[in-house]
């Protein structure tokens, strides 16, 4: 297991967990979502192949009412 902070919450993830796995954990919708790992945007095409490193800070954002 590895630990990562996902949207401000400590989570335990399986070793080698990808960004896709984190999105599944959050129940993220198929569109309208973006992910940053340690301050860098991970493009959608790389979600299935990008592993989340130990201690990573993962932010999953979507559009909400505002402005």
């Amino acid at each position: 297991m590895l630990k990562a902070k996902v949207n401000g919450v400590e989570r335990e993830l399986a070793d080698g967990a990808t960004v896709d796995a984190v999105l599944a954990l959050l129940g993220a919708p198929a569109s309208g979502v973006a992910v940053a790992v340690d301050g860098e945007v991970v493009p959608r095409a790389a979600w299935g192949t990008t592993a989340v490193p130990e201690g990573a800070v993962v932010e999953v954002l979507t559009a909400v009412q505002g402005g």
Binding site: N7, G8, L26, A28, G32, V33, A34, V35, A36, G39, V41, P43, R44, E59, V60, L61, T62, A63, V64, Q65, G66, G67
Partner: protein, 251 residues
């Protein structure tokens, strides 16, 4: 399309850009957006589990373009990351760039704003910066390659209207990109004044979404923007100190 608003080569039939913040619920927001006639509307980027979702589906259903903002960002670095996330999430390289100096005034931080604008333009974004009503800063943003400049009339959500109309006129006089009056509009006459001063469009949210009747106020803002645009192009009379009779003096 008659007299369209053109930003970065794209045409919009409405000169009223709306925000989606502050509406009591999505049903109220929908009625207000439809009444406003807007074709371009801002959304904010927040954590997935923070609530407030459903707005993208609403805009998509209404055929309104979503314009992501970077509201809440305090530094250029935060704003650049938020814009990149928005590009990834929404598939648009347009961004309403906001870098706020503090929570009480929500005024743009000019140093961070210029820095963020330069980085985002370099990164291929179509940048629409929310800026102070400072003609020099607006000019600098245009020189950096911003697709429009969006000066405030007064601080966000205050409804204080346009506090320095002359500054807005100065910005308009020198700009070769569209000037969008952004923030501070309280009622329809403020929106009309912005257009009379020569702005190309008005961006507002709170004045509509927090009005007692958002749908009715949205219709008022639409009419205000259209009236101001017409008046600007009609060529108003000069202001005079003394009366000038409108009825014949003889006969």
């Amino acid at each position: 399309m008659d007299d369209p608003l053109v930003i970065a080569g794209r045409e919009f039939g409405s000169r009223l850009v709306m925000g989606t913040g502050g509406a009591a619920n999505l049903a109220v927001l929908e009625r207000a957006l439809v009444a406003s006639g807007t074709e371009l509307t801002t959304v904010a980027m927040r954590r997935l589990d923070a609530g407030g979702g459903g707005v993208l589906e609403l805009l998509s259903r209404l055929g309104i373009e979503a314009l992501p903002n970077t509201a809440g960002c305090r530094t250029a670095a935060e704003a650049v990351l938020t814009a990149r996330l928005a590009r990834e999430a929404l598939g648009t390289d347009w961004v309403k760039l906001e870098v706020h100096a503090d929570d009480r005034t929500l005024l743009p931080d000019p140093v961070e704003l210029l820095d963020a604008a330069e980085r985002l333009v370099d990164d291929g974004f179509t940048v629409l910066p929310y800026t102070n009503d400072d003609p020099v800063l607006a000019w600098r943003l245009e020189q950096l390659g911003c697709a429009a400049v969006m000066p405030l009339g007064s601080p966000i959500g205050t409804g204080l209207g346009i506090r320095n109309p002359h500054n807005i006129e100065l910005i308009v006089a020198r700009a070769s990109v569209p000037v969008v009056l952004d923030a501070g509009v309280g009622t329809a006459s403020d929106a009309a004044l912005a257009m009379e001063l020569g702005c190309s469009a008005v961006l507002l949210a709170t004045a509509v979404t927090r009005a007692q009747d958002p749908e009715r106020m949205a219709a008022a803002m639409r009419a205000g923007v259209e009236a101001g645009r017409l008046a600007r192009s009609a060529g108003r009379i000069p202001k005079r100190f003394w009366a000038h009779a409108s009825s014949p003096a003889v006969g």
